[in-house]
C-alpha cells in the first residue's frame, strides 16, 4: 500500500512549487506447487491421479520492500524548471541494514520564453537531467542452501551449485541526459538533439568460477557497464498547403556500449554456458555487453587458412584452438526516415529504416548447411573445390574437395564453427508503406469519419549485409535472417520475420 501527500503552491506570482511526499510498502509472496506426470495410466483421463511417475515439487519466494520518498518541482515564469527527488528503500533481499537511497535532479529552460530570438527561431529549450534508479537484487541469494531432489531410495539432498553473495549490493542505474529542442520557421522545422549516458553500477550477474571449488557459478555485483550515445530527431514540413502537405521525419541513434569494470580480478564473463549454435555471448572489460565468440577456421601464425591433406578446412574445434571474438551484436547506429504526403483526401506514408554495424551468427544456417539444404551448398557439389589452403608448415595443399566435405567439416548440425556463419547485420528496408483515403460523408451521418488504407509492412530490403568470412571459391552470402528477430545475435531456429500486406478501415461514430 501507498501513502502519498501532494502539494501545489504558488509562492510568488512567478514561482510555483509542487511536491510529493510518500511511503510505499510492498510484500510479494509467490508459492508454487507443481505436479508433473510423464504419461497417463488411463487414456484421456487428464488428472494427476491417473498419471505415471507423478512427482511433486514446490518453490516460492517472498520479497518485502519499504520505501519513503520525496520529490519537488520548482517552476519560474513557466520557463525555468528545477526538479529533484530522493528515495530510500529497505529491501528484504539485501543483507542488514537492507537500506539504500537514490536521487534525481534536473534543470531545464525554455529559452525562447526568456529571450527574444530572431524570427526564424520559434522555439528553443535546453535541459540537463541526472537520475538514479535502484533495485534490490534477487530473492534468497545470501546463503548456501541444500535442495531436495527425487531419486532412488529416500531421494537426494544437493547443495546449490551457485555460490551465494552474502554482501549483495543494490543495483543502481545512473542516467545523465542533456537535450536541446529547437523549432524554426514557425515550427515548420523541428530539431531535437539528446546526449545520454547511463551507467549500470553493481549489476547482478552470474559468473562462472572454477567448478573444482564445488560451485560452478557465483553471483557478483558487476562494477560498471556504460551505455552512451546521441539521438537526433528532425522533422520538417516542406510543403504546407490547403490541398497538399508533406512531412519528413528523420531519426538517428548512435549508441556505444562499454564494459568499464566488472569486479576484482575479473575481466570477462561468459553468458549462456555453451558454444552450441555457433556462438556464445560474453562480457569483457573494454568490450561490449554483447560480444559474440566462437570457433572458426584455424590459421597458422602468418594468418594463412589451414587445410588437411585431403584439402578440407581444419577447424578451431577439431584443432583444439580457443574460441575467438567475432564482434558485437549491437548496431553502431540506427536510422529511420519517414515521408508522408497528403493530397486532398489521399495520404501516402513511407518509412525506411535500418541499422549500421553489428554482427549475427546464423546457427540455423549452420544446421541446414550440414544437410546441404542451403543454396550456397549447391556450389561444388561434384567436387573440384580448391580452398587454396596450406598445411601447418605453410606448404600449399592442392587436394580438392566437394561441398559436402566442406559443410560437414565446418558444421556438426547443432554445433560447429560459427565463424563460417557470421554476417554483417547492417541492413536497410522499407519498413512500412501505406496509402489512405478518407471517405467523404454527409455532415449529419451517424458515422463521423471513415478512413480506408492499404498498409504493407516489412516490404522489401534495400540493402543487406554479407557474410564476413571470405571463403575461397564461394561468393559472399547475403544476410538471410532478419537481425530484428534476435535479442542476442546468435540465431538458432527462430522464426524469420514476416511481410504483411493488409487494409485498414477505421470509423469514428
Amino acid at each position: 500500500y501507498d501513502v502519498i501527500l501532494e502539494g501545489n503552491n504558488k509562492i510568488t506570482k512567478d514561482l510555483k512549487l509542487n511536491y510529493q511526499l510518500g511511503a510505499i510498502y510492498t510484500d510479494n509472496v509467490s508459492d508454487n506447487v507443481s505436479n508433473v506426470a510423464s504419461g497417463l495410466l488411463v487414456a484421456n483421463k487428464f488428472s494427476i491421479n491417473f498419471g505415471t511417475k507423478p512427482t511433486v515439487s514446490s518453490g516460492g519466494s517472498e520479497v518485502e520492500k519499504q520505501s519513503v520518498f520525496g520529490q519537488m518541482n520548482l517552476g519560474y515564469k513557466d520557463a525555468i524548471f528545477l526538479n529533484g527527488s530522493v528515495r530510500n528503500d529497505w529491501d528484504s533481499r539485501l543483507p542488514s541494514p537492507h537500506s539504500y537511497a537514490y536521487y534525481s535532479a534536473g534543470i531545464s529552460g525554455v529559452l525562447s520564453e526568456l529571450f527574444t530570438f530572431p524570427d526564424f527561431m520559434s522555439f528553443l529549450k535546453v535541459g540537463v537531467d541526472y537520475a538514479e534508479v535502484g533495485n534490490g537484487g534477487q530473492f534468497g541469494l545470501l546463503n548456501v542452501t541444500y535442495g531436495y531432489q527425487n531419486g532412488v531410495g529416500p531421494g537426494y539432498l544437493a547443495r546449490s551449485s551457485t555460490f551465494p553473495i552474502p554482501g549483495l549490493k543494490p543495483e543502481i542505474v545512473q542516467n545523465t541526459e542533456a537535450s536541446i529542442e529547437a523549432g524554426f520557421l514557425k515550427n515548420r522545422l523541428n530539431f531535437t538533439f539528446t546526449y545520454y549516458r547511463s551507467n549500470a553500477i553493481n549489476q547482478l550477474l552470474t559468473i562462472g568460477i572454477p567448478a573444482a571449488t564445488g560451485f560452478s557459478s557465483q553471483y557478483i555485483n558487476a562494477g560498471n557497464i556504460q551505455n552512451q550515445g546521441v539521438e537526433v530527431v528532425l522533422s520538417a514540413k516542406p510543403v504546407v498547403n490547403g490541398n497538399f502537405n508533406w512531412n519528413i521525419d528523420f531519426n538517428l541513434g548512435i549508441n556505444k556500449n562499454k564494459v568499464v569494470s566488472l569486479s576484482d580480478n575479473l575481466d570477462i564473463v561468459y553468458l549462456r554456458g555453451y558454444y552450441d549454435f555457433g556462438g556464445r555471448e560474453q562480457i569483457a572489460v573494454g568490450g561490449s555487453f554483447n560480444d559474440i565468440s566462437g570457433y572458426g577456421w584455424a590459421r597458422n601464425a602468418t594468418g594463412q587458412l589451414l587445410v588437411d591433406a585431403n584439402g578440407k578446412p581444419i577447424t578451431d574445434m577439431a584443432a583444439g584452438n580457443d574460441p575467438k571474438v567475432f564482434g558485437d551484436f549491437n548496431p553502431a547506429a540506427t536510422l529511420g526516415l519517414s515521408n508522408s504526403f497528403a493530397y486532398k483526401r489521399f495520404s501516402l506514408r513511407m518509412l525506411v529504416d535500418g541499422r549500421v554495424g553489428g554482427i549475427i551468427v546464423d546457427g540455423t544456417e549452420m544446421n541446414l548447411s550440414f544437410s546441404g539444404l542451403t543454396k550456397p551448398t549447391l556450389e561444388h557439389r561434384d567436387g573440384g573445390w580448391d580452398l587454396g589452403g596450406v598445411d601447418k608448415d605453410g606448404h600449399p595443399v592442392s587436394s580438392t574437395i566437394s561441398a559436402s566435405d566442406f559443410w560437414q567439416t565446418v558444421s556438426s548440425k547443432r554445433n560447429g564453427n560459427g565463424e563460417f556463419y557470421v554476417y554483417d547485420a547492417t541492413n536497410f528496408r522499407v519498413r512500412e508503406l501505406s496509402l489512405g483515403y478518407s471517405i467523404p460523408l454527409q455532415p449529419n451521418f451517424f458515422i463521423k469519419s471513415a478512413n480506408f488504407s492499404l498498409v504493407a509492412r516489412n516490404l522489401f530490403w534495400l540493402y543487406r549485409g554479407k557474410s564476413k568470412l571470405d571463403i575461397p571459391g564461394l561468393k559472399k552470402r547475403k544476410l538471410e535472417f532478419d537481425p530484428d528477430m534476435t535479442v542476442n545475435g546468435v540465431v538458432y531456429g527462430q522464426f524469420p520475420s514476416t511481410r504483411s500486406i493488409g487494409f485498414n478501415l477505421s470509423l469514428t461514430f
Binding site: W90, G147, G155, S161, F163, N265, A318, A319, S404
Partner: protein, 522 residues
C-alpha cells in the same frame, strides 16, 4: 504561507514516523522472509543418507556427454552411427566434455565434503565417504591426468591442480584407512537406504574398496612396479570380490533417476556395436553377445560399425541404423526385447570378473595373487558369464577351452579380424597369456568404457582398430597413434587459467590428446 509551513512540518513527522517504523520493527523479519522455505540451510543427522545417495548417484555411468561420446568410443565398445557427432573422429567438444567434470566437482564433491564435516572420522559413514571419494576421483584423473584434488571443494577464485602421482598415493592411503575402519564395524549399516549400491552392507563395501585398490595398483604396474605389487598384494590379502553376482557392484536406478544407457535407447539409436566387439564376440561365439547387444532390426544378426567414420561413410546403406546392433536388451525399449522397466536397469559399477583378471595379470607379473594365472583367468571368464546370467556350466567350460579367434566383421571397411588371440589359455607363451587376459578383461568390463579405455592405455597388448578417420590434426596417422587423454577444459582456461597453466607442467607434455598420463609409459 502558513498553510505551507504546516504541511512541511507535518510531512517531516510523517517521514520520521515511517523511517522509525521501517527500521525498528519491519526489517526485523527480513532474514526469515529472504530464506527459501523449500530448501535446507543446515545439514543434520537426518540429511546424511540423502547427501550420500546424491554423491553416489551423481557419477555419470554411461551417460552420453561424459562417457558414451568419449571413452565408450575410445574403448571401442560402441561406435558412432550418426553424421553429426564428431567425437568418434577425435574432435573434442569442450561443452560436452565439461559434463563429467562438473558432475564430479559440483554434484559429488559438495555432498562428500558436507559428509566429511558432519560425520565422525572413525565412523563407518566417514569410511564410505573416503571410498566414494577415491572411486569417483580415479575416473576424473584417468581422463585428464593432473586435476584439482587436495583442494577440491574449497571455495575461492582459483583451485590448484595436483599431480596424478600424488593423487594415486592418496587413493591408496584413503582406501587402506577406510578398510581398516570398516573391519571393526561389520555389524553396522551406514546410510541404510541412502546407500544405493549395497544398502549399507559393510562386508560388501570392504570387498569393493579392496577391488578398487587392486585396480589402481595394476594401473601403476609399469610406472611404479614396486608400489603396484605392494598395494595389489595388500588388497588381495584383505579380500577382494570373489563371487558373482553376489559381490558385484551395481547402483540402483528408478523411474525418477534413470539409467543413461537406457535413456539413450529411447532417443534415436545414435551409437551401435563397434566392429571390434563384433569381430571378437562373433569369432568367440560368445554367449554374452545377446546380453551386450540386440540383433540388427533388418537382418536379425549382430552387426557392428567401425569407429571414426566420416559422415558420408556413415550414410552408406550397410551402416543404416536398422542394419546395426544396439545396446543390449536390458537397456532397450520393450519393442526391442527390453523389460518394461528398462529405464530402471541398475548402472554397472565394478564386478568380480575384473578382480580375477587383475589377479591373473598380477600373478603373471610374479605378484602373490593367491592362484595361478590360468586358474584366475578361467575364474574371471566364469564370473563374467555368471554376472550376465549365463549359468550353464558346460557352456562355460566349452567356451573356456575353445580355440576360436576373432573373425573379420564384414563391415563397411572390410576390416580384418581384430586379433588372432584364442580363448583357450596358452600354457607356454607369456606374451600370449597377457593378450588373452587383456582380451577377456576388455570383454568383461563392458559397458564400462571409462575403465576399459584406461586399462587399454595402460597396457595396449591387444590392439583395437585404428579410428577410420581423425579430424584432430594432432593425430595425423591413426594407424600408429591413438588418444591418450582428454585435454583440459576450456571452462577451466576461462575461470581457473593460471592454475591450469601450471597443471600443464604437472602433465609433463603439451595439453593435447597425444600426451600420455603419468601411469601410461607405452
Amino acid at each position: 504561507m502558513k498553510k505551507l509551513a504546516d504541511i512541511k512540518s507535518y510531512s517531516i513527522y510523517f517521514i520520521l514516523f515511517f523511517s522509525i517504523l521501517t527500521i525498528n520493527s519491519c526489517t526485523k523479519n527480513y532474514e526469515k522472509i529472504n530464506t527459501d522455505k523449500n530448501t535446507v540451510a543446515e545439514v543434520g543427522e537426518a540429511q546424511l543418507p540423502l547427501l550420500f545417495a546424491k554423491a553416489v548417484e551423481s557419477v555419470p555411468w554411461n551417460d552420453q556427454t561424459p562417457q558414451n561420446l568419449y571413452s565408450d568410443q575410445y574403448a571401442q565398445y560402441f561406435a558412432n552411427n550418426t553424421t553429426y557427432f564428431p567425437t568418434d573422429r577425435y574432435t573434442i567438444d569442450m561443452d560436452w566434455l565439461s559434463d563429467p567434470w562438473n558432475s564430479q566437482y559440483t554434484k559429488v564433491v559438495p555432498q562428500l565434503k558436507a559428509l566429511f564435516e558432519n560425520t565422525d572420522s572413525i565412523s563407518a559413514e566417514y569410511a564410505l565417504v573416503k571410498i566414494w571419494w577415491v572411486y569417483s576421483f580415479h575416473r576424473i584423473t584417468d581422463y585428464w591426468g593432473p586435476i584439482p584434488y587436495f583442494n577440491a571443494g574449497v571455495p575461492g577464485t582459483s583451485v590448484a591442480y595436483d599431480s596424478q602421482k600424488d593423487i594415486y598415493d592418496d587413493f591408496f592411503k584413503k582406501l587402506d584407512n577406510a578398510v581398516t575402519v570398516l573391519k571393526g564395524k561389520t555389524g553396522e549399516t551406514p546410510y541404510g537406504l541412502g546407500d544405493p549400491m549395497y544398502g549399507g552392507n559393510i562386508n560388501k563395501w570392504i570387498k569393493f574398496a579392496n577391488t578398487l585398490r587392486l585396480r589402481l595398483a595394476m594401473r601403476l604396474s609399469k610406472v611404479d612396479p614396486t608400489r603396484a605389487k605392494k598395494e595389489a598384494e595388500l588388497a588381495v590379502q584383505s579380500g577382494v570380490m570373489e563371487a558373482s553376482p553376489n559381490d558385484d557392484a551395481y547402483v540402483k536406478k528408478n523411474s525418477l533417476d534413470q539409467n543413461p544407457l537406457s535413456v539413450m535407447a529411447t532417443y534415436k539409436h545414435e551409437f551401435s556395436m563397434s566392429a571390434a566387439m563384433e569381430s571378437v564376440l562373433k569369432g568367440y561365439q560368445d554367449p554374452r553377445i545377446s546380453e551386450y547387444f540386440t540383433p540388427a532390426v533388418a537382418t536379425g544378426t549382430f552387426e557392428g560399425i567401425r569407429n571414426g567414420l566420416e559422415p558420408d561413410q556413415v550414410q552408406a546403406p550397410i551402416n543404416a541404423k536398422n542394419m546395426l546392433s544396439w545396446a543390449g536388451p536390458r537397456w532397450s525399449t520393450p519393442d526391442q526385447g527390453g523389460p518394461s522397466d528398462y529405464l530402471s536397469t541398475p548402472s554397472n559399477v565394478m564386478f568380480t570378473a575384473e578382480a580375477y583378471f587383475l589377479r591373473a595379470e598380477g600373478a603373471l607379473l610374479g605378484w602373490n595373487m593367491i592362484g595361478t594365472p590360468e586358474e584366475l583367468y578361467k575364474a574371471g571368464i566364469r564370473n563374467s558369464m555368471l554376472q550376465w546370467g549365463i549359468t550353464n556350466e558346460s557352456l562355460i567350460n566349452t567356451y573356456v577351452s575353445s580355440t576360436a579367434t576373432p573373425i573379420a566383421p564384414d563391415d563397411y571397411l572390410n576390416s580384418p579380424p581384430l586379433s588372432n588371440v584364442p580363448i583357450k589359455f596358452d600354457m607356454a607363451d607369456k606374451n600370449m597369456q597377457l593378450k588373452q587376459i587383456a582380451m577377456q578383461k576388455w570383454i568383461a568390463l563392458y559397458p564400462d568404457g571409462w575403465e576399459a579405455w584406461a586399462d587399454y592405455r595402460r597396457r595396449p597388448v591387444v590392439h583395437l582398430y585404428p579410428v577410420a578417420n581423425s579430424d584432430n590434426p594432432d593425430i595425423s596417422d591413426p594407424s600408429t597413434q591413438y588418444i591418450r587423454r582428454v585435454p583440459f577444459l576450456l571452462q577451466e582456461k576461462q575461470t581457473n587459467g593460471s592454475e591450469m597453466e601450471k597443471a600443464i607442467k604437472l602433465l609433463g607434455g603439451p595439453d593435447k590428446i597425444t600426451t600420455p598420463l603419468w601411469w601410461d609409459v607405452n
